[in-house]
């Protein structure tokens, strides 16, 4: 299906947010996921289905600044 991932159109085979993270080798603890403008609870990564046209943002922790 076609989704928008971090602003770019992409074709994905995965059916849940967690599967998509795994497929991209992203450790779920390391990101926040925004799914159609809603920040997901990490507990819901596995149960949030992906649909055609969804918009997904992986938001990374950045703790530096010193």
């Amino acid at each position: 299906m076609n989704v928008k991932l971090n602003g770019k159109p992409e074709q994905v085979d995965q059916t849940t947010v967690l599967e998509l993270l795994r497929a991209r080798n992203i450790e779920p603890q390391m990101v926040s996921v925004e799914h159609n403008l809603k920040i997901l609870d990490k507990d819901h990564f596995a149960t949030t289905p992906l649909h055609e046209g969804d918009s997904i943002e992986f938001l990374y922790y950045m703790g530096g600044g010193g």
Binding site: M30, S32, E34, L37, D41, Y61, M62, G63, G64, G65
Partner: protein
């Protein structure tokens, strides 16, 4: 208070801007900004706000200048190594603009001192280097209802977001809690391009001045991300999280907490 001739000349390029003018410059002169950290982000933030004529700059940092800081912390010079960062920063600020009153604290921001310290300031700028303090600053801003300009950097990337408590999304709307200790590499472990701190810190200073002047559209409900390697800026739309642990209608965090973990220490 009327500006003298030197001040009119010093701030002439601001005064020329219709959005600033003499009135706006006075707003800047009356502004009180609290900068947390006199490091990579705090350096450009403090220098640009001082140059702009921000009347009162509060700066807190408990560290000493280390040789490894100088690659990015442009407020400190080689001769400042081993001095408290706040002393070094104060000296440069006053040399740049004697109009600025510097209120400095050689300390770390903690759950105990945070609310007292930010009292009396109009807005807070996050220039810290670790997650515990970034979360502490967010919660302090929410409880004290002070606008916050958040930022973080790592390697070649940075992010910035303005938080207007009660109005726009906060840091915890995005990130509920700090990542597990050791999960995210620090700048000390992973490195950071020095000039990146200048890009992100300058955006923070710009956003602070916009808030002071009340001009433009603040960087609220958006996370600005910058990737230096591809020179790409993105605005990611963010909404307030109805389940946010600190700024929602039913918060689970009602007092400040100190997290143990340390990430990206500079010294």
């Amino acid at each position: 208070m009327a500006m003298n001739d030197d001040q009119i000349k010093r701030y002439s390029r601001h005064i020329l801007l219709p959005e600033v003018g003499g009135k706006g410059q006075k707003k800047i002169t009356n502004a009180k900004v609290f900068v947390v950290g006199a490091g990579g982000l705090g350096s450009p933030v403090a220098l640009y706000l001082a140059a702009a004529g921000v009347g009162t700059l509060g700066i807190i940092d408990g560290d000493l200048v280390d040789l490894s800081n100088l690659q990015r912390q442009v407020i400190h010079h080689t001769s400042d190594v081993a001095r408290p960062k706040i002393d070094s920063a104060r000296e440069k600020i006053v040399a740049l603009n004697p109009d600025v009153r510097v209120v400095s604290f050689h300390d770390r921001l903690t759950a105990k001192n945070a609310l007292d310290l930010v009292q009396g300031f109009d807005l807070i700028v996050d220039g810290t280097d670790n997650f515990p303090t970034k979360f502490l600053i967010n919660d302090t801003a929410i409880f004290a209802r002070k606008p916050l300009i958040h930022a973080g950097i790592l390697r070649f990337s940075g992010q910035v977001m303005t938080i207007l408590p009660g109005t726009s999304a906060c840091y915890r709307c995005l990130f509920k809690a700090p990542p597990p200790a050791g999960m995210i590499p620090s700048c000390q472990e992973a490195g950071v391009l020095g000039a990146l701190a200048g890009v992100i810190g300058s955006i923070q200073a710009t956003e602070a001045l916009k808030l002071i002047l009340g001009v433009g559209r603040p960087l609220t409900d958006r996370l600005l991300t910058y990737d230096a390697l591809t020179t790409r800026f993105r605005n990611v739309a963010i909404r307030r999280n109805p389940a946010c642990p600190v700024c929602s209608d039913h918060p689970t965090i009602t007092q400040l907490v100190d997290y143990e973990q340390e990430v990206c220490r500079t010294a």
